[in-house]
């Protein structure tokens, strides 16, 4: 491995603990819900988006419709659109493995790529190795969790909470990074009302619709001025 590859490997170690723990959590959770390593690995290899995979466990368990699943994926992953915009210039210059690098642009990989000074590094080598190692940690965690559920005779009741905990953490970190908290507060209200009115079955579609309407109204009334 050349210098840029080694540097990418070192940077990927920052991500290693989080991906391993969250990956293991995902594997164990899938296992507890009756999905073996084939399902878990397919998801970690081809979806490779942490929060979506956790949300996906519930979609699988409740046999959600294709439409609900697609809409949910758009809601949870729409932020990736902006990651792409953020590294557009850097990634345009990549000539090797570009397709893979774009596919594997997760929150964590994005945060490193966009804060990293890439001058003096081989862009192709660095981006590919960073993407690849992060993906590898995520898949390894998943596989470990998936197997762990089988070989460790342990009561996994309550493991679902890992999903809740992950989303709570993301809400806090996004809350801290934003100055306008109104949309999030309104989302909590809308979701609670939808849950109360429509029950768990129609919760997702109704609250997703409510949120998008709420955001369009907020934008029209000038709730967000800097965009």
């Amino acid at each position: 491995m050349k210098r840029s590859g080694k540097e990418a490997f070192r940077d990927s170690l920052i991500i290693l603990p989080a991906y391993l723990v969250l990956g293991i959590g995902f594997g164990v959770l899938m296992n507890a819900k009756g999905y073996g390593f084939v399902h878990s690995l397919l998801m970690s290899v081809f979806i490779y988006a942490g929060s979506m995979q956790y949300a996906g466990v519930d979609l699988l368990c409740s046999s959600a419709s294709v439409f609900t699943t697609a809409l949910m994926t758009v809601m949870v992953n729409i932020r990736h659109l902006f990651y792409g915009v953020g590294v557009l210039d850097k990634y345009k210059k990549i000539t090797k493995h570009r397709i893979y690098d774009i596919f594997a642009l997760t929150d964590e990989t994005f945060s490193i790529v966009c804060s990293k000074d890439l001058s003096g590094l081989d862009l192709n080598d660095y981006c590919f190795h960073l993407s690849f190692f992060n993906h590898l940690w995520w898949i390894s965690g998943t596989l470990l969790g998936s197997i762990l559920g089988d070989i460790l005779p342990f009561d996994y009741t309550g493991i679902d909470f890992s999903m809740t905990a992950l989303f709570i953490v993301i809400v806090i970190s996004q809350w801290k990074n934003s100055s306008d908290h109104l949309p999030v507060i309104l989302t909590f209200l809308i979701s609670a009302v939808c849950l109360f009115l429509f029950g768990a079955g129609d919760f997702l579609l109704s609250s997703m619709a409510g949120i998008v309407i709420m955001l369009s109204v907020l934008r029209k009334t000038g709730g967000e001025k800097d965009v």
Binding site: L88, F161, T164, F188
Partner: protein
């Protein structure tokens, strides 16, 4: 088999979103897209929190472990800012509470 279809849908939509900016806006994204990109992620996560706790209001035995574990997640994240640590601690505490205490 249906589960494979759902996984395929999730993967296809995720991949489409990741490739979209490289295909669609080589220069600048439309204002409404940029606005949604700024605001929607936080909202989606807040909605998912509500979705996750939806079954926790039936009885005190469901409600209390969820509240205590959520508090542990919030406090530990404030102190350490470590996602994996907070998720790990909160889940462990929740599992202990529902299995041994409540």
């Amino acid at each position: 088999m249906f589960s494979y279809l759902l996984i395929f849908v999730m993967a296809a939509v995720t991949i489409a979103i990741r490739f979209a900016p490289f295909v669609l806006f080589r220069k600048k994204a439309p204002a409404f897209i940029l606005y949604l990109g700024k605001t929607l992620p936080a909202c989606a996560m807040a909605m998912l929190v509500v979705y996750c706790v939806r079954n926790g209001f039936d009885s005190m035995n469901d409600f209390l472990p969820q509240c205590i574990a959520a508090a542990a997640v919030i406090i530990s994240y404030h102190l350490k800012k470590n996602t994996a640590l907070s998720v790990f601690l909160g889940t462990l505490l929740y599992m202990f509470l529902v299995q041994r205490v409540f």
